[in-house]
Amino acid sequence: MSSEATTGTGGGGLTEYIQHHLQHNVQQVAGLSFNIDSLIIGFAVGMGILLWFWSIARKATSGVPSKTQAFVELAIEFVDGQVKDSFQGDRRFIAPLALTIFLWVFVMNAMDLLPLDFPGWVVQTIWGAEAAHHFYFRLVPTADINTTFAMSLTVFCLIIFYSIKVKGGFGFIAELFTAPFHAHSVPTKLVLALPNFFLNIVEYLAKPVSLAMRLFGNMYAGELVFMLIAGLMAGMLTGVGGFIGGLFGVAVHAAWAIFHILIIGLQAFIFMVLTVVYISMAHEKH
């Protein structure tokens, strides 16, 4: 699984291995650089799960459900229950948004369970080792900070949209200066305006930043631990007990992957619940 690290055990080979696997496949389009690997994988898995759920929902019957239909209903009821708990209002937009976020983030995170040498191995068998040495491809879109910030900035735009829709444009700006410290006389209001504004800016900025960084940190650290296990255990592949050492590496990989399955689902769930909670908070008036 880690053919490149065996050529150089110790510092040099491991560092090179990790740095090679941390590089994105960057393409320049019209002067801007895009991480093509995150875009392709994110789009492909998103369309995959969307089309799969859609094809099952089309054939849905009110009789005895098939197993796949029961699974789809389970997922939808789970998300709908969560939205009902946190948001008292018209759920017709929020619940599908929550379902999309949950499923898409879950599937993108699940790409972390594929071996990270897999794209390099495919390129190596088809085009040879030299091409594989210059080929970079990161399999996990949510381990790319651009993806997570894109999603959380979209949620941020939705929060601002709903705030303005519920409070009105002037009400939104007025509330930036009058909440959370309320005052009744005009001089006190002016004094409290600046601390209020500062607190509101911090609160508004912390939401998208924390959403994005939480997901990114979890996925990036998970991928990095996989790379470290592969690199450190690769030294045991050579020598007398080569095969046994390889089995030990497989065992450690499997243990971390099993723990990571929990993290994958949990981070998708947290992203969805926090999105719903933030949007429901935006519907509150003072």
Partner: protein, 88 residues
């Protein structure tokens, strides 16, 4: 040449402190939350499934700052921008 060694040494210390202090805070937080959960589950066992869902959510939120710290520390560990600023 000594400057690179100094930057590397300080970076290594910083990585250790980030991960260590983050783990310290996260573990104590999970410990307190878990103990409260077990107490309330023992008091009212019928509420345990609902509380368990909230407990997992809170565990993810408590681990968030710690894992962000780990990600940043690992970034400094493998692709140190302070060293590439020195070299280039």
């Amino acid at each position: 040449m000594e400057f690179i060694a100094q930057v590397q040494a300080n970076t290594a210390l910083a990585i250790g402190i980030i991960i260590g202090l983050g783990a310290f805070g996260a573990c104590i937080g999970i410990g307190i939350m878990g103990s409260k959960f077990l107490e309330s589950a023992a008091r009212q066992p019928e509420l345990m499934p609902k509380l368990q869902g909230s407990m997992f959510l809170l565990a993810g939120l408590i681990d968030a700052a710690f894992l962000i710290g780990v990600a940043i520390a690992m970034y400094f560990g493998v692709a140190n921008p302070l060293i590439s600023a020195l070299k280039g």
